[in-house]
């Protein structure tokens, strides 16, 4: 008797807790209904102000919808750890470059830790890590643990920086997590301008101040490269190949119709001045290329043989933004800058997007910390009359001439197209530079209208599945079917309340899991009822038939629940994103049905039996 009372108590408690946990969801729903019903925005604003705390509280505790239902972006970004380790190496000879190239190729194919790939590659060649990393006296093991630490740090730092950028951009409830050794998962619900957000996330935001070499050096260098390309008959070959691979890219920029020189170049014989087909030099020593040839020039500058021709410690960089040349042609200026930077973005403490002196050109004002300020004063003081390029992620924004020593630690980036872009620059500069480049490796975007469709589809599926299964149970098992249906309702309530209570979100696959649970949860009742029918037809009394039915069916129910649960659990463990949502609801639903289908229905029958409301006919 005591035991029975405990069961009843348990059922009441669970039902109440479920309802309590879903109460904020209901409140949230009624609030938004209420707000929709107001005719004017003024009315609704007044309502929001007077009920602010309640509304916010309800929203915070209500059942969250997944990105697919709400609309939003799910991004997986990979931190380029190969690049990170390359930065860490102090000795980068040809052997090292070749090894790292293999590592890069392997890393693209698998999810293994990059450090493991490096170690494997070095082992294969029988080279000690200390030849390239840290101190020559370090053992491999010491270096591995140091590099491991570096890579962990880089990942968490990258995560924090990305979080900063997103926070400053202003997205409600972003979820940012790391996965494995090099992935960052970013979930942004309800973002409308995904292109802008992605641009904000992509850049490394590595800001550098670099000295420009004299125009004569640039002109001389270009001459050397040109001579090298013209002389080396095999030289145009890679360039032609890159034309093929670039053709697709060129096509994807609608603003630029395929330039004639790009299209015709493969067919042309080796030109006398291959470089000057792509680059022009003005009389004042400024070199520039057209928008159409930009990709080709970039590819050319990446080539090892071309880089070998540059003067010591220099690099050729392109402007970030085009300038307008004659006939509205877009021209990118080419700069020869020192490879070592005078100052990096690490010293920047504050950035602010504004309009420049004339009030039309957007720019970003920056201020530096004390260390940066004194360094900046020294650099500017020592280089009066020279040009210093402001380089962000390998592209030159501007290269002003130093007029005088700057003691204040202020600097400005101009050459920005729009205020929006200036604002984005402000965000990434404030958040700091990423330790290594990041790449988007997976993206799933659902527009809000499709999300609304999914919600409608999900609700319809839930209703129809519940209706179909419960009507069937009623028809087939009569009164006992009612007990099974009550259990089913409680089961769905429990699934939703657990999701709401644990702040998990409901996605479309999650709804599919609930729908499937509706079909499978009644299995326990079917097993019991069939058994009760058997016992009844064997001539047992109603009371003992029910007891026997529950007892004997339990073993099957238990086994089948364990197997379903283990399959769902493994799906959860190995699955990602959407599939985990399915596995979670299936797991909760299956576990809950162990309680609802057995304990709840048994209590209902006990109650009905005690009130003499059941007969042999009650099981259909």
């Amino acid at each position: 008797m005591k035991n029975k009372r405990f069961n009843l108590f348990l059922i009441v408690v669970i039902a109440l807790v479920s309802l309590w946990s879903l109460w904020p969801t209901w409140r949230d729903y009624t609030f938004s209904k209420q707000l929709d019903s107001f005719g004017t925005t003024q009315d609704s604003l007044k309502y929001v102000l007077s009920h602010r705390d309640e509304i916010e509280d309800a929203r915070k505790k209500s059942l969250k919808l997944g990105l697919d239902l709400k609309g939003g972006i799910h991004l997986v970004m990979e931190v380029d750890q190969v690049d990170l380790f390359e930065q860490k190496a102090w000795n980068k000879d040809a052997k090292f470059t070749a090894l790292m190239q293999n590592v890069r190729a392997n890393a693209a194919k698998s999810d293994a830790r990059v450090i493991d790939l490096i170690v494997a590659e070095f082992k294969k060649e029988n080279i000690r890590l200390s030849r390239y990393f840290y101190d020559i006296r370090n053992s491999d093991q010491e270096i591995i643990s140091k590099l491991e630490k570096e890579s962990e740090d880089a990942l968490s730092r990258a995560k924090e920086i990305i979080r900063n950028r997103i926070d400053q951009y202003g997205v409600a409830e972003p979820v940012i997590t790391t996965q494995g050794s090099r992935k960052i998962i970013i979930e942004l619900p309800g973002v409308s301008d995904e292109t802008r957000v992605k641009n904000l996330l992509k850049g490394t935001a590595k800001l550098e101040f670099r000295l420009l070499r004299e125009p004569e050096v640039l002109v001389r260098t270009l001459e050397t490269i040109n001579a090298h390309l013209a002389q080396n008959s095999s030289a145009p070959q890679p360039a032609v190949q890159s034309v093929d691979s670039l053709a697709a890219k060129v096509e994807t920029t609608p603003a630029a119709p395929p330039a004639p020189n790009v299209a015709t170049q493969p067919a042309k014989p080796v030109s006398a001045n291959p470089l000057y087909d792509l680059i022009s030099v003005a009389p004042d020593g400024t070199a520039y290329t057209t928008a159409q040839s930009r990709e080709l020039v970039l590819a050319l500058l990446q080539r090892g043989d071309v880089q070998a021709l540059l003067p010591m410690d220099t690099e050729l960089l392109l402007a970030a933004k085009p300038e307008n040349g004659r006939d509205t042609q877009k021209l990118y200026v080419i700069y020869l800058v020192k490879k070592t930077s005078e100052l990096t973005g690490g010293v920047i403490t504050e950035a602010k997007a504004t309009f420049g002196a004339e009030g039309v050109q957007p720019e970003v004002l920056m201020s530096m910390n004390s260390e940066g300020t004194s360094k900046w004063a020294r650099v500017t003081g020592a280089n009066i009359g020279k040009r210093i390029a402001i380089v962000l992620d390998g592209a030159v924004y501007s290269a002003p001439v130093v007029q005088s020593k700057i003691p204040s630690g202020n600097s400005v980036i101009n050459g920005i197209e729009s205020l929006e872009e200036a604002k984005d620059l402000e965000i990434v500069l404030k958040a700091g530079a990423l330790p290594a480049p990041v790449r988007i490796t997976e993206e799933r975007t659902v527009g809000p209208s499709l999300g609304a469709d999914y919600i409608r589809a999900g609700i319809q599926s839930l209703l129809w599945a519940f209706l179909a299964v419960s009507v069937f149970m009623l028809l087939y098992y009569k009164k006992a079917g009612i007990a099974a249906n009550i259990a089913l309702v409680l089961n769905i309530l429990i699934v939703l309340s657990v999701l709401a209570g644990f702040n998990a979100s409901l996605s479309l696959p999650g709804i599919a899991g609930i729908v499937l649970t509706i079909g499978m949860a009644v299995d326990a009742n079917v097993l019991i009822y069939e058994r009760v029918r058997e016992e009844l037809s064997a001539g047992k009394s109603l009371g003992s038939a029910i007891t026997q039915g529950y007892d004997r069916a339990f073993s099957s129910i238990f086994d089948s629940h364990v197997t379903t649960l283990s399959a769902a659990f493994l799906l959860y463990t190995y699955g990602i994103g959407p599939i985990q949502g399915f596995a979670v609801t299936l797991m909760i639903g299956t576990s809950a049905s162990l309680f609802t289908a057995i304990v709840v229905t048994k209590e209902i029958f006990n109650f009905l039996l005690s009130k003499k409301l059941m007969s042999e006919k009650s099981f259909g």
């Binding site: 589809a457 129809w464 479309l508 499937l516 197997t563």
Partner: protein, 311 residues
């Protein structure tokens, strides 16, 4: 209401015919897998997919020519929603560019019919190979777990036959996916993550069904002579037949609802589970238990199952 009450089907006698049917299904599936292969979705192959929805009805050929002219590479197909199309193309890390290109071209060329890009999925090659591995791991681990659990709760023979039945079910469904893949525009039957979820669901369902039959056999077989086994197996299957049919009925009902209402993203999954439940119901009666029976008969061993109480 009662269906399948007090049936007396001689399942064991006709098991050879069932073996034949299963073999034919499996072989047909294998042939289709070998010849036609599987239709991999971007989860496993990598690539980008864009779903474009128009306000009014529009011809797929017209959009195709507009996109071709704009230099968008890839294939365009009707998508399983009204006035919607699916553009699949390669993964290049930047879908923003692709989106601008598509939007501009459609905006310019197809006037008076507003379009919206409602979904973008892009999966890089490294992620795709990760997903493939974890899918395989999940499947194998769940089979191992089931083998272990059923092996402990019953006997290794029972467990092995149960896992064989799961293999049977998954391979038949896989064969169907290969054979029917790409045949229906409203349901491309691509292999993606959701299909792996479907396979694990099928595995769980199939073993549940099998365990219920096993459980009944265990309950009745204690202390019986091997000569009685045929009768006991048959009677156990007949006694659980009603439950088997009813439960598969309710699951099929709810999965059918998913297929109809839940939209194209869930349709492949619903189809897989639907056919898997059908096959799984069949296999628990005609594959799993008969294999145990034959195994016992051929090895002339008897069942030593004792406890029928749950742990």
């Amino acid at each position: 209401m009662r269906i399948f009450q007090k049936t007396k089907f001689d399942f064991i006698r006709y098991r050879k015919i069932a073996y034949g049917i299963s073999l034919v299904l499996l072989l047909a599936g294998m042939v289709s897998l070998a010849v036609k292969g599987l239709n991999y979705g971007i989860d496993f192959r990598g690539g980008s997919e864009v779903v474009i929805r128009f306000e009014k009805q529009v011809d797929v050929a017209q959009i195709r020519s507009v996109l071709d002219a704009a230099g968008v590479s890839g294939t365009l197909k009707q998508y399983g929603m009204d006035r919607s199309f699916l553009l699949s193309t390669v993964f290049d890390g930047d879908t923003a560019q692709l989106k601008t290109l598509v939007t501009n071209a459609l905006h310019e060329k197809i006037k008076g019919n507003v379009h919206e890009i409602v979904r973008i999925d892009a999966v890089g090659p490294s992620i795709a190979s990760d997903l493939k591995w974890s899918a395989l791991k999940a499947l194998l681990a769940s089979l191992a777990a089931i083998l272990l659990y059923v092996g402990i709760r019953f006997e290794l023979k029972f467990a092995t036959a149960g896992v064989l039945a799961i293999f049977h079910d998954i391979f038949v469904v896989l064969g169907m996916f290969s054979f029917l893949g790409g045949m229906f525009p409203f349901m491309p039957l691509e292999m993606d993550q959701s299909i792996i979820a479907a396979f694990l669901t099928i595995a769980g369902y199939s073993i549940t069904d099998t365990v219920v039959v096993y459980d009944r056999i265990r309950e009745r077989i204690q202390g019986q002579k091997p000569s009685e086994y045929e009768r006991i197996f048959n009677e156990s299957m007949n006694q659980t037949l009603s439950r088997t049919i009813i439960t598969s009925g309710t699951v099929l009902l709810s999965v059918f609802v998913l297929f109809i209402f839940a939209g194209p993203a869930i349709r492949g999954f619903a189809f897989a589970v639907f056919s898997g439940v059908l096959i799984g119901t069949y296999s628990s009666i005609f594959v799993a238990a008969p294999i145990v029976y034959d195994w016992l008969r051929l090895t002339k061993s008897s069942v030593r199952l004792s406890s029928n109480k749950a742990a």
